[in-house]
């Protein structure tokens, strides 16, 4: 299955977490791409608060966050 991917690279906070919130309303499972640590940490807090599973992979300073309803 192809996950919907939200590209939030190049965006400053709070944009990445806002896009994540919007995606969460539409999809049970999706991925977010970000390029800064602050966005990763903010999205991690969002997932924790909403009871979502989060997997983070890093490559060359870019992060892929896979998010799924538990």
């Amino acid at each position: 299955m192809n996950l919907p991917v939200i590209d939030a690279r190049g965006l400053a906070c709070p944009e990445p977490v806002v896009l994540t919130q919007q995606a969460h309303r539409q999809h049970k499972q999706f991925a977010v791409l970000v390029d800064n640590k602050v966005a990763v940490q903010n999205i991690a807090r969002f997932c924790q608060n909403r009871g979502l599973a989060l997997t983070v992979t890093e490559e060359n300073g870019e992060y892929r966050l896979e998010i799924a309803a538990k």
């Binding site: 400053a12 906070c13 709070p14 944009e15 977490v17 806002v18 919130q21 640590k37 602050v38 940490q41 903010n42 999205i43 991690a44 807090r45 969002f46 924790q48 608060n49 909403r50």
Partner: protein, 346 residues
């Protein structure tokens, strides 16, 4: 008056969140030669809010400068907030603000009306503070910025450092926290309108009333809570004073809804900078959830005064403060120095 430009859209980071981190700053300043002058009573050494220079046996000059990019969309309100924030450093020293100069960066996207409105807000706050505006400097810049350079005066025995708290002192805070998360959420349209309105009101409220009341009591130390957050400024006060500051999280005034915004990760970048800088010196009770801790690292724009009051005067001071500032609260105390600069209890 309404203008069409949304000021925050012209800025990359907002308000005191734009401040260079405390750790970065001391590394940058580290190699520079420091010249001594016996009349300089407060300089770089203690990261205080303003410098203090003795002019005569009964007069010191207190100087500060502060400016930042827009934290709100309306130019007039931004002018008020930036000026209130700059003037606050003078009040945090227990001094009276007297002379102010505009520091202004005008963006090509601002029309004349927006610039006039911005300055009108700044002038209004300077006058309310008892200062006069004597000039300034304006340059072109992609990102607008505004603030003031302020000079104030005090008696040499009657100004307040940020590094002179004593064990037993009661710590008081005069504005609620949560300004950083609330304004961050507002940029995304996710802040509760009433909470945001409160945040704006607090940001443009001068710390003059709190200062005037504080000076009638025995106070040992004071600072204002701004970009480095309660815990950053708290660490500076604790370490400069050689004490440990114990805070009770449940007593700390907080904007409504701020905790839920923090839980949802609507945290400004400055929060992470402040955390990285201060957290090795802070012990927070593990019973405190992460979001509650985050709020104590949330950068405040034009935040309140953190006052270390002598124990015998603290209750009367709080009562007097509450007369005009109902949310002012006793949030903890200074104790003899232990392992940590700041200890946060539930």
């Amino acid at each position: 008056m309404e203008t069409s430009i949304k000021m925050t859209k012209l800025a990359k980071c907002a308000g005191c969140g734009a401040k260079v981190g405390a750790g970065t700053l001391s590394a940058l300043l580290g190699g520079l030669p420091v010249r001594r002058d016996e009349r300089l009573l407060v300089g770089y050494d203690t990261s205080d809010d303003a410098s203090v220079y003795r002019i005569s046996d009964d007069l010191v000059l207190v100087q500060t400068v502060d400016f930042f990019p827009p934290i709100v969309d309306d130019p007039y309100t931004f002018g008020q907030i930036a000026a209130a924030n700059a003037l606050s450093d003078i009040f945090a020293m227990g001094a009276e603000a007297k002379l102010a100069m505009n520091v202004l960066c005008v963006s090509p996207q601002m029309d004349d009306e927006a610039v006039r409105e911005l300055l009108r807000g700044g002038y209004e706050k300077a006058y309310e503070a008892g200062a006069i505006i004597t000039g300034g400097h304006t340059i072109q810049s992609e990102e607008p910025k505004y603030g003031l350079s302020v000079s104030g005066f005090a008696h040499p025995d009657r100004f307040l450092r940020n590094c002179s708290a004593q064990p037993g002192d009661v710590l008081l805070l005069t504005k609620p926290l949560g300004i950083g998360v609330t304004t961050t959420a507002a940029r995304a349209g996710l802040a509760d309108p009433d909470a945001y309105r409160q945040a704006v009101e607090w940001m443009r409220t001068l710390n003059k009333a709190a200062r005037d009341i504080m000076m009638r009591f025995e106070v040992h130390s004071c600072t204002d809570v701004t970009g480095f957050a309660l815990l950053g400024h708290g660490c500076e006060m604790a370490e400069g004073s050689g004490v440990t500051i114990e805070l009770y999280n449940s007593r700390i005034p907080m904007l409504p809804g701020a905790l839920e915004l923090a839980r949802d990760g609507l945290l400004p970048e400055g929060m992470y900078r402040n955390r990285a800088f201060a957290e090795s010196r802070v012990w927070a009770d593990p019973a405190l959830e992460l979001a509650a801790q985050d709020l104590l690292y949330d950068p405040q724009t034009s935040g309140g005064l953190l006052i270390a009051a002598a124990p015998q005067d603290a209750e009367a001071l709080l009562r007097a403060l509450n007369g005009s500032i109902p949310c002012a609260a006793a949030i903890g105390q200074a104790v003899p120095r232990g392992d940590w600069a700041v200890v946060v209890k539930p």
